[in-house]
């Protein structure tokens, strides 16, 4: 059962948590922009894996980031939410193609990948900042933070994706 994909995911998990906490949590661009790049894990996670393990792994990922950045369990809640909605989003973005055995993220178009990533980020950030700020009188602040920090996350995630894409051309 333990395959190379397990080790790749484990490595990805650890590296993303460390990069998030040691680099991106200290960025404080413009004083408050700290991109949450660790959600690339959800983007990269194999599609055909067991959903139960996926949910539990995502929860643990969020929880690890939470412990490092003293944010109670906000990251865990947001991450488990996008992990749950990922299949729905994939069906929405990639259409029926996604059901096929041979489907791979790399084989889809750039626009599809971009939309998928953007939707993941929007849902994650809205959940995250709603829980962090937790008052509807500040809903403007929630939107503002989601927009600015989401944009920063999106740009950095796109850079990471193009940096680590395994293209065999």
């Amino acid at each position: 059962m333990i395959s190379s994909s397990f080790f790749i995911n484990l490595l990805r998990f650890t590296l993303l948590v460390l990069v998030q906490t040691l680099v991106f949590n200290r960025l404080n661009f413009f004083g408050f922009i700290n991109p949450l790049v660790y959600i690339l894990f959800i983007y990269w996670y194999p599609i055909k894996e067991n959903r139960t393990t996926f949910l539990i792994t995502s929860f643990l990922l969020g929880f690890c980031v939470d412990i490092f950045s003293d944010t109670l369990a906000i990251n865990a809640a947001a991450t488990v939410t996008i992990a749950y909605f990922r299949p729905v989003l994939m069906r929405f973005v990639f259409g029926v193609n996604y059901e096929f055995q041979s489907f791979k993220l790399n084989s889809s178009t750039k626009a599809q990948q971009f939309t998928f990533l953007a939707l993941l980020i929007v849902i994650h950030h809205i959940t995250y900042f709603t829980l962090e700020i937790f008052s509807f009188t500040n809903s403007l602040l929630i939107l503002q933070k989601t927009l600015t920090i989401g944009l920063a996350t999106l740009i950095l995630c796109l850079l990471f994706i193009s940096l680590f894409s395994s293209r065999k051309e």
């Binding site: 404080n28 969020g62 412990i67 950045s69 003293d70 369990a73 865990a76």
Partner: protein
């Protein structure tokens, strides 16, 4: 029975999702009350050590500045010492109320709603909950959770933080809170309308706190206004501390704290 089991199997992903979300919510909301839960902070062994490792490697870059600021503080303290008028009798041990322990920040944050600072001193250095933490310029926060060699400090840049503060040279006191908008200003509320104020006045810690000694600098008044009830001031305080750049801290222990708390508890139960 069969139906229930079928139901469970069919919706097992959804149920797992709800379950995990619930766990996250419980962790989040139970600690909205005063104290953060014991193990949900970066003062634990693993994250503490990783932060310590990263601080060890990055702290070399600003050693020169650190040295300079420490020298400056020493200069001020020495000047105060040499200019003392009378040679006082050395203080007898039993009259000491405060002890001071030094520490270093290994993790700092100021961009969230609830900011916590992790320092490299913990239970092994006799740090306990509710000890005050200050820097050479002003106050930083209150110790909230400890592990063996690390402690998590609730920064004044935290929307749960409430610290007793007063205006210099008067005894009007209020509470220091943070409106989460800017990391250079905090707010002082509950100062009555009849208190004389002007922009630039110094704000110090008050006497009715058993955590901080009196007269520790906090900041200066940058703006003030009456609140909605028109009987109290709402004051913006510009902090002396640069919260984005903190290295060396002092942790203050009040030796009389237990006695004060017991006394307060007794008088409360008498009512």
């Amino acid at each position: 029975m069969q139906k229930i089991i079928n139901f469970l199997i069919r919706y097992k992903t959804f149920l797992l999702y709800i379950f995990l979300l619930l766990i996250a919510f419980v962790f989040t909301f139970q600690s909205h009350s005063y104290h953060q839960s014991k193990f949900l902070n970066s003062a634990n062994y693993i994250s503490g050590s990783i932060y310590q490792l990263s601080t060890n490697s990055t702290s070399y870059f600003d050693l020169r500045e650190e040295n300079e600021s420490l020298l400056k503080e020493n200069e001020i303290l020495r000047r105060r010492l040499y200019n003392k008028q009378s040679s006082e009798i050395p203080i007898i041990d039993s009259t000491i109320t405060y002890t001071v322990i030094t520490g270093q920040v290994v993790k700092n944050s100021y961009a969230n709603q609830r900011n916590y600072v992790t320092i490299n001193k913990g239970r092994a250095d006799s740090i306990t909950q509710d000890m005050g933490v200050i820097t050479d310029k002003g106050i930083l926060g209150i110790v909230e959770g400890t592990s063996n060699s690390f402690a998590s400090v609730q920064s004044i840049l935290n929307d749960k933080s409430r610290i007793n503060a007063k205006i210099k040279n008067s005894n009007h006191f209020g509470s220091l809170i943070w409106d989460t908008k800017s990391y250079t200003t905090v707010q002082l509320i509950d100062i009555p309308r009849l208190a004389p104020l002007s922009i630039g006045d110094t704000i110090l810690t008050g006497a009715s706190s058993s955590i901080f000694p009196e007269n520790i600098p906090i900041g200066t008044i940058s703006k003030f206004d009456l609140d909605s009830s028109k009987s109290f001031y709402f004051i913006d305080v510009a902090l002396f501390n640069d919260m984005t750049n903190i290295k060396n801290v002092y942790i203050i222990k009040n030796l009389n704290r237990e006695e004060i708390e017991n006394l307060e508890l007794e008088t409360k139960t008498d009512d």
